[in-house]
Subunit: 79 residues, 7 copies
């Protein structure tokens, strides 16, 4: 496992707990809100979530569980 | 497994048992109804389910088993 | 496994054996008929099956084995 | 495994050996012919196979090995 | 494993070694040529391969390794 | 494992740590930025990330975790 | 494993190391260049890579890591 960097990708999820993140899902849907929990499959819970479509607010979701295998990326610092 | 938060994503399914949830599926289909059961694959049973398309009621499904790998998100608090 | 509810999603398949079910498949195809058997992969056999497209009868299939990973949902009580 | 019915889905493949079946594949392709063999992955060999597109004969395939994970359904009794 | 037929699907690949086959891939691409080798994942090597699109020769590929999970079907006897 | 070359594909990720890379994702999205970490699933963290669509800057993402199974390619030397 | 031919598909990757190959990816993208390394998942590194779209050069990629599960075929002898 020498080829694996010492910093690990999931560290950024751990560091982003309780802060705002932007999650891009397959099929041009995005969810923005506070990262509340995640697991090793990248299943993610967002609090105060908002569903975005084409960058526009589509609706407020409140608490939402995002299934890991539909996630394209998670950004803790996107505007 | 240090990188995994102590709150776990499936907790929100457990907390939402017997309450209304909104489930978004791949392919622009949504199902709304009472969460009755789920398993580790995120297979979910909804009671009094309604199938929505484009936000409109398409038909009443009653009891429905949703296959986990078609789920995009589950929201216990969406309007 | 504390987070898994005591009722299990596959229970509704077991309860629906020998009754009418509606199965939605990926790609906007639906099959309606009598649930005859299923396995842990959600492979399902329907007897007296009818293939529906856009809600209309496309053709009668008789006995049909539906592959689990193409299933979106199974509803024992859809109209 | 109490939730699994005693009849098993693959039984209908076993019973259909050496008879005509209709196989629907992902992407609106169908193959019709005599079921010659299958395995646990639902890989299937059809003899005297015909490829159908939109219900019309597209070409004769003779012997053809269908990969299991492209199968939507198999019907031994479709017209 | 009682439900598995004694003839096995991969037998037809074994029997087709060094003969012409037609391979249909996902996304409406086909490759025709001499079956040179295969493995348990259905990865396949074709010699003197030709890529077809809509039934027409698109280009000559010579030797080509086809990834198993993109294969829809393999026919040793298609015209 | 004789067929595996001594140079390994993940070596180029290791060599590219802390340098600019271009990542092409499924669905015609690209992300450009500094490779910060990766794991064996090819989950990748990019710092100072920019999301590109059709070659044009769509927005600045800052830190972003890209899920491995949405990646098409990673190029450390693309312009 | 009697059904597996003695020549193995990955042999052609091994034989093609340090020579030009054409790699077709899902989504109508192709990459051409020198095969530098590969692994058992068919992850592949190409040196002096060129991205092609519709047969035309889209851009030069230099070194590029192609994720195995996006590969349709690899041809060491395509023109």
């Amino acid at each position: 496992m020498k080829q694996v960097a010492e910093k690990r990708p999931f560290d950024i999820l751990n560091n982003a707990l309780n802060t705002n993140v932007l999650v891009k899902l397959k099929g041009d849907v995005e969810v923005r809100g506070v990262l509340s929990s995640f697991d090793v499959h990248m299943n993610i819970v967002i609090e105060n979530g908002e569903e975005l479509k084409g960058g526009e607010l589509k609706r407020k979701l409140g608490t939402v569980l995002l299934r890991g295998d539909t996630i394209v990326f998670v950004s803790p610092s996107a505007p």
